[in-house]
């Protein structure tokens, strides 16, 4: 049988195909998980991923399980994130509004210097609970790819709404108020 290609071009083609496959795999791995958004688009509420992290600047941990039976506004933020500065006063107002009605805001400070985060909290007078995710591992299960991102979790621990970006009052009214 006639030989179509010598081993060298075949080897080069194989290497190129392997490199392209590797590139594709790398890109796929970096894609954030948007399962929550797809479920919400179908009108379904997925259970919120488990989350247990040390309290920011304090002893002990806090977890989402501690909030079961309450509505949780879970906000991923960092002190170096500029849009986080804009939404923080709004989140504080909502903490005061829902705190006595079975709701709570829980801040997750990610990839941040603790001292900077504490300065931020003091500057904006934030009174809601804060946990620290030093290496950002909690971001992946929620599909968090940018900051800030906010998840509204209902009393049964299911994600009822998500905002990829800073929250505003209309989002909070439409997604939190009906759950109270």
């Amino acid at each position: 049988m006639r030989r179509v290609l010598s081993p060298v071009p075949i080897a080069v083609i194989c290497v190129l195909v392997a490199l392209v496959a590797l590139l594709g795999y790398g890109l796929a791995q970096n894609e954030p998980d948007r399962g929550v958004d797809r479920a919400l688009a179908r009108g379904e509420r997925e259970p919120a991923p488990a989350l247990e992290l040390p309290k920011l600047g304090g002893a002990g941990t806090a977890s989402l399980a501690d909030y079961r039976g309450r509505i949780v506004v879970l906000n991923f933020w960092a002190s170096w994130c500029k849009p986080c500065k804009d939404e923080s006063p709004l989140l504080e107002r909502w903490q005061r509004r829902i705190g006595g009605r079975g709701g709570a805001v829980l801040g997750v400070d990610v990839l941040d210097v603790t001292g900077d985060a504490q300065d931020f909290i003091a500057k904006y007078g934030l009174s809601y609970a804060m946990v620290k995710d030093k290496d950002g591992k909690s971001m992946d299960p929620f599909g968090v790819a940018q900051l800030p991102e906010t998840f509204v979790i209902d009393r049964r621990g299911r994600i009822a709404a998500v905002r990829r970006g800073p929250v505003d009052d209309s989002f909070m009214r439409s997604s939190v108020e009906p759950l109270l």
């Binding site: 060298v8 960092a78 002190s79 170096w80 900077d116 290496d135």
Partner: protein, 155 residues
């Protein structure tokens, strides 16, 4: 004369503790550290993350630690406490995975050697003269037969 002596003594009192402190202060700098640690948000070494806000904060944090006379190792430990192991850019800095630390250097070197060998092999094959049907000399029995034929025809 007494005045000068007392002035010198006063200056010495001021300068000596500072000199002693400077001697005890480990010599490190932001530039020395930022190539060995990552900007966790940017996913690049801190030295390459020029204007990212998180990188700026991280640099400021390192500078504060350097100003407090922390050694390079102490700064790295503080960064790990804040950002986790992933902040360390050098393979040997991360955990106790000694096999992984070796492989991370050996595998790329092996890849380079294999690639170089492949390229050399391809070049040699490409440059080797073809021996069939292109008028060049034949070796062995074929060559001898050709020579006989040439002599017989006396061309």
């Amino acid at each position: 004369m007494k005045r000068i002596a007392s002035l010198l003594a006063a200056v010495a009192l001021c300068v000596l503790p500072a000199a002693a402190a400077a001697k005890g202060c480990p010599k490190t700098s932001l530039g020395d550290i930022e190539d060995e640690v990552m900007c966790p948000v940017c996913g690049t070494p801190l030295g390459l993350a020029s204007e990212a806000p998180q990188a700026e904060r991280e640099r400021a944090y390192i500078q504060r630690l350097v100003d407090r006379c922390k050694s390079k190792d102490e700064v790295k430990q503080a960064l790990v406490a804040e950002f986790g192991d992933r902040v360390l850019a050098l393979p040997g800095d991360q955990g106790d995975d000694s096999l992984g630390d070796v492989l991370v250097y050996v595998v790329p070197a092996l890849g380079i050697v294999l690639a170089a060998a492949g390229i050399a092999f391809a070049v040699v094959r490409w440059r080797r003269p073809k021996t069939r049907g292109d008028g060049t000399a034949l070796a062995g029995a074929d060559g001898a037969r050709l020579d006989d034929d040439m002599e017989r025809y006396d061309l």
